[in-house]
Symmetry: C2
Subunit: 213 residues, 2 copies
């Protein structure tokens, strides 16, 4: 008996997304053809077009799918920090996970791919920025606003505080990884010490008593 059409179609869709993800990250957007993706996914070219329209739409779907699985869980972690009872310890632990997360090679490769195509496919670059860095900064903004209200931070401009925190922790590494690759950069960092010094700078500026002193 044939399996349900919807199930098979959904499976094919996922197979195409996965094959396209791997090929685009390995060979770049221009170095990858719909023919290759179809062959790798063991479907016809027509099936790819039926599911995704064209190569560019497929790339948008792949990026959207990849970000949803990597960014969404981290946003919940940031949100939970608003309820901390030990700010310095929890901020430090979160910062270490944040740094390790953005240094993962597939994350770095996806960034490279999107940035390399930003001129030709600006809607892809905007999708990426809105779905990843902007959403992460918005989550930190909400969190720091709540911590300000609780009196644990003095951050009357929580959006600026969010940027300061994010780039104190991951700024140099995320920048260097675009050129050198994530694992190579991470291997050169003492994550615990690096994160501790970034958190110390942030708290020196944003701890309420620091402002009073």
């Amino acid at each position: 008996m044939a399996e349900p059409v919807l199930g098979r179609s959904a499976r094919k869709r996922l197979t195409i997304l996965s094959a396209g993800h791997d090929l685009f990250l390995s060979n770049g957007y221009q170095g990858t053809s719909v023919d290759q993706i179809a062959a790798s996914a063991e479907v016809s070219k027509q099936t790819v077009y039926k599911h995704f329209g064209d190569k560019q739409e497929l790339l948008l779907a792949i990026v959207n799918n990849a970000l949803e699985s990597t960014v969404a869980p981290f946003l919940e972690r940031i949100s939970a920090l608003a309820d901390t009872t030990d700010l310095e310890a929890d901020l430090t632990a979160l910062a270490a996970d944040y740094l390790r997360a953005v240094m993962q090679e597939p994350v770095v490769q996806l960034r490279r791919l999107v940035i390399g195509e930003a001129n030709r496919v600006p809607e892809l670059a905007q999708l990426y920025y809105d779905q990843a860095p902007a959403r992460t900064l918005a989550a930190f903004t909400d969190c720091f606003s709540a911590l300000h209200d609780r009196g644990l931070l003095h951050a009357p401009e929580p959006a600026i505080a969010a940027e300061h925190f994010a780039f104190l922790i991951v700024g140099r590494s995320i920048d260097q990884a675009l050129f050198y690759g994530g694992p190579q950069v991470l291997a050169g960092i003492d994550v615990a010490g690096y994160v501790r010094s970034g958190v110390a700078v942030f708290l020196a500026a944003y701890r309420p008593q620091a402002k009073a002193g």
Copy 2:
């Protein structure tokens, strides 16, 4: 009478570099052929190969040339800061110029081009990183080390302080500009206010009296 051979050759070299720079930034590395560069520079393809070996060597020369003209003058500015008699004012002025410099569209476009080719041409990515971000961070490190010795900063780890300063000032903008373009990002920033808040965080952490308090 014919002009000196060396002069003509050097001029041709500069013309090829300039034509290649414009075409690579507009159409990407893979979207640009040596034929197009030769046509735009009004030289033969053989002349391009004679001067630069191949397309990849030409790209390396173009990036090297572009960085030399944009990065070198800024390194002198950073170096001069070590002699400041008004740290906060001079640091703030330098920070504003730094932010504006990295948001220039040709700078952002060059970054995009290099990052987009980082997998295929890793030596280009390493050349770029070493010649631009790493050199800038090294200049800040030397400067903060001198300011530490003068007692104007408490920065026993000047390399970390350099990273903190750089990414407090340009981190978010340089990241966003890779996706949105430099002028668009700069247009959304109150440069004076943005820079002031970054400098305030840096000084809260690295001013000697802050450490004593």
